[in-house]
Symmetry: C2
Subunit: 143 residues, 2 copies
DNA sequence: CTTATAGTCTATCGGATAAATAGATTAATA
DNA sequence: TATTAATCTATTTATCCGATAGACTATAAG
């Protein structure tokens, strides 16, 4: 399961993607619409700012807005930011690899080989899906 | 990532599958070979016993042994036992479903639709792989 | 230049869970 | 009946998750 942070960030980012180029959206507006605890959402958006996906403006008329093109923001990067590895085992993770301390030979280990396939297909799906894809899915299902 | 319990249980069960019908294996033997903390492994095996995958015998000549055919023990049931849902979101989990409290309509939600695909392919891979498959993978890679 | 607005920073909290350990007890075998 | 090995109870330690509180700072409008 994804952490609440990762889950909330997905909903918040899709919200911002829908308002792309419409100017800033209030944290409180996002929090209310997406039913996310406001203070918690603040911390999440702040983190998303540090990786250059969103930016913010203070004061009246301020709020958060997407700065990366929604076509270019993929689910995999958001999930990795908050939850780390996609892989089910450290020894099959690309980004957070750790040597296996249970098996003797990673090359021949059967468990590892299955888990590698799982990881690869999951990463594929998540990195081929952007915020724009999400929005298109919602539009397509309506007609 | 899988919990340590889930990870250890996979290694322990593959070990037992290799000794299927060779009589009981000592906890301490498994612990040593698979580099699992012995006391921790005790608890894990006890849990596996409650779901009818393994059984044990006390006293001299005792230990743990697999009672289910290695062809019939799949990775998905082991992982579910220790870590619960395979899905990344509660709203796409079959076994641990919870209604989404962030989106308004699960039928049209784009995030959910992607996550459902991820879950389905992951569950497919994990439920189509048995302990026997794992062992065959290891044998095949050696020639 | 002042006031209202809205994000930022620091800090902290309870609760749950994870991972591992210790020691006494019970069951099985020879 | 002694030895072996699993079982039970319990406790420990650490870490993280999810959430909240309040003071601070930047912005824009009037």
């Amino acid at each position: 399961m994804l952490s609440k942070k990762a889950q909330y960030s997905l909903y918040a980012l899709v919200h911002l993607a829908k308002e792309y180029k419409n100017g800033p959206v209030l944290i409180s507006k996002i929090a209310e619409d997406e039913k996310i605890p406001k203070k918690f959402l603040e911390a999440i958006l702040l983190e998303l700012k540090t990786i250059g996906i969103v930016n913010s403006r203070k004061g009246k008329g301020g709020g958060y807005y997407l700065i990366k093109n929604p076509e270019k923001v993929t689910l995999v990067e958001i999930i990795r930011k908050f939850d780390g590895a996609i892989a089910l085992l450290p020894c099959v993770s690309d980004m957070y690899y750790e040597q296996c301390r249970n098996c003797n030979n990673e090359e021949t280990c059967g468990i590892r080989s299955v888990m590698k396939e799982v990881r690869d297909t999951t990463v594929n799906m998540l990195s081929n899906t952007s915020l724009a894809d999400i929005i298109r899915r919602e539009e397509n299902v309506l007609h």
